[in-house]
Amino acid sequence: MLSDARTRSIIIQCALVAVAAAFAALLVSTTFANLRARGIPIGFDFLTMPSRIVISEAILTYKSRDPYYWAIATGLANTVFISAVVIVFSSALGLVVGITRLSSNPLAAGTCRVWVEVARNSPPIVLLIFLYSLWWKVLPPVGEALNPLPGVYASMRGFVVPAVSMDVATPGLLVIALALALAAAGWAAARRRWLPPLTAPAILAVGIAGLWLADAKFFVDWPTFTGSNFKGGKDLTPELSTILIGLIIYTTGFVAEIVRGGVLSVGRGQWDAGHSLGLPRGKILRLIIIPQMLRVIVPPLNSQYINVVKNSTLAIAVGYPDFLAVMNTIISKSSHSIEGVFIILGVYLALNLSLSSAANWYNRRIAIVER
């Protein structure tokens, strides 16, 4: 009987693999036939040719005579930049909103609840297009720019913020210092679950000493208004600002719900038990509550961060050139669609898999150690 079931399972699997292979072969042969019929060449050598495409704004420096691979890198840098900014800000905001939703104050809890419901129930693309349409309605022309914080201006042409730049005389020393600081952090993390109290200042001191030895100078470039435009500072165009603000509003709603769930998942009894052991509040929070909360919130937070990377593709809705938009332009310009599709799939899979493996590593570290 056992051999019967095993043969059957082998036959089923062989049949499945054969069908899949036949299907793939059919697709590949049709694709090649279609490509030949249209006279489209295949190969990745187009990557080093000058692209001549226009990327309207970029974190890296890009000129249209740069090769295709640099255009791809520019788009990727934009995507990574958007994702990183959104993840950092929405994590911090989500923590505040999630905890405020649990407040007994109806005004505070209600406002945060409205935020969460709007974020969770409206499509992000509609949110982005709506915010983008508000831009010229709400903000004043550049001559009467709002100045909410010193050095920060908001007008129809976007935000202008102070730019920080660093001038390093001997970069090698800085790299060594950073490596030392990282190694110390890794060593401390490997030795103990919670860092000993002196590690953080020590790492900071190594970093600062490195900066000082490397003779680093920081420059803050404050924007100034000169007649018709701003000089200096960093420009955030309406497109970039919209995608950042929109995705931060959207993601914050989800992070807030995750944080709220995490706080609620730790029972009151844990606080009582901590008090009865005579632990002070700070220690209960640090040693009992937060470790248990992290265990609950890290896995869903991880999938939320991956969603941020995926949602950054919505930049296309407001015309910001993220990775997918750049790839789309490249594909229509160069007609290397197969190669373009492979690059798109490869890059997003690599980004998301590395994010989730980092989170899984962290998750394993904080998971319950069971006997």
Binding site: L16, N34, S104, L107, A108, L324, N328, L345
Partner: protein, 363 residues
């Protein structure tokens, strides 16, 4: 103990209740220093934002004045544009004389959805009802058999959103179940195939899948078999939904204790009947809240088909805004579209809450 035995007034004075409620809310708002700070902070925030918003939304807004000129002079929102353009916003470029057809389709889908979310109507005949409804919907939308024919390229607006949502989820559900079972299979070839498919779809943004579907399908398939844009988007949405539903159903399957499999084996049930009669009904019951969340995500995701050139709600909004007679009230239009999506997914979310509170039914 003397204080406790003091006679209490039989009925509180009317003013006392008022005072009590007032006191309670005062305690909630200013009871502790933190609450007082929060009240001040959010009070300032709300006072600064809510009155201008209300002024724009209602007080200064043009509500029903049908002439575009009123909108040009008004300081507030231009709702009369939405009112005047509602047909175009909801049904896109569908032929003017035939708009009653998509209207019936929308009502039909919404009524069926409302009917289907009642736990009492969950039975195999619900699936049959949906199949019949889908045939009717495609007949109404596409025409033929006595109705004027309308190609899918002229479909637009809300019916596209609803049809994409319903059909993608409807087709993806059985596919998702098969994928979930395949991922838990003991046969390595099947398991690895399912894992690769599910994880690569889940690792990709939906937009890139839509792009790939619209770029690659003309290359993959012989020209004669090439589906139109609507079907291409539908295929991409279905694959996407199937991968996510598979993971949700797998979660449900993992919650079923081994005893259920052993009991089914003891009864001599073969694999498929074990799944159909014993395992899946329980697994899906467990997974219902997560399934409802996935369905909300799919409702929201259908809004992305505009980037591959389908005429959904957002595109019909953009087309309506292009009318030069009107002052192009973009914010109002997208607020309206957002409100439609909000209404759809918020009601579904409340339904998911209801199911979660109700808990799994006893068998």
């Amino acid at each position: 103990m003397k204080a406790l035995s003091l006679p209490l007034p039989a009925e509180p004075m009317p003013g006392q209740i008022r005072f009590g409620a007032l006191r309670r809310s005062a305690m909630l708002l200013f009871g502790t220093p933190l609450n007082a700070v929060l009240t001040l902070l959010f009070g300032v925030l709300l006072v600064a934002t809510v009155p201008p918003m209300l002024r724009w939304l209602v007080i200064d807004a043009v509500l029903f004045d049908p002439s575009p000129r009123a909108c040009r002079v008004a300081a507030g929102a231009c709702w009369s544009f939405i009112y005047a353009k509602s047909g175009q916003l909801l049904f896109g470029i569908y032929p003017l004389d035939e708009r009653w057809r998509p209207a019936i389709v929308c009502l039909l889908i919404l009524a069926l959805l409302a009917w289907s979310v009642r736990p009492a109507s969950w039975a195999p005949r619900l699936a049959a009802l949906w199949m019949a409804a889908l045939v009717l919907i495609f007949w109404l939308m596409a025409g033929g058999f006595g109705l004027a024919e309308v190609p899918t390229s002229s479909w637009g607006g809300l019916p596209v959103t609803l049809i994409l949502t319903v059909v993608a989820i409807g087709v993806a559900f059985p596919v998702g179940i098969l994928l979930a079972l395949a991922r838990r299979s003991t046969m390595p070839a099947i398991r690895i195939g399912a894992v690769v498919l599910i994880e690569s779809v889940r690792g990709l943004p939906l937009l890139s899948i839509l792009f790939v579907a619209s770029i690659m399908m003309p290359l993959f398939l012989p020209e004669a078999l090439l589906p139109d844009k609507f079907v291409r988007a539908l295929v991409a949405l279905t694959i996407f939904a199937a991968a996510y539903l598979a993971e949700v159903i797998r979660g449900g399957l993992q919650a079923i204790p081994n005893g259920q499999y052993e009991a089914a084996a003891a009864l001599g049930l073969p694999f498929w009947r074990t799944q159909y009669l014993v395992i899946l009904p329980q697994a899906i019951q467990v997974a219902i809240p997560a399934l409802a969340n996935t369905i909300i995500v799919m409702i929201k995701n259908t809004s992305l088909v505009l980037v591959v050139g389908l005429f959904d709600l957002i595109s019909s909004g953009k087309a309506a805004l292009a009318d030069p007679d009107w002052p192009s009230p973009a914010a109002e239009t997208f607020l309206f579209i957002g409100a439609i999506f909000f209404a759809l997914s918020f009601s579904f979310a409340r339904f998911a809450d209801f199911l979660e509170r109700r808990g799994p039914t006893a068998h």
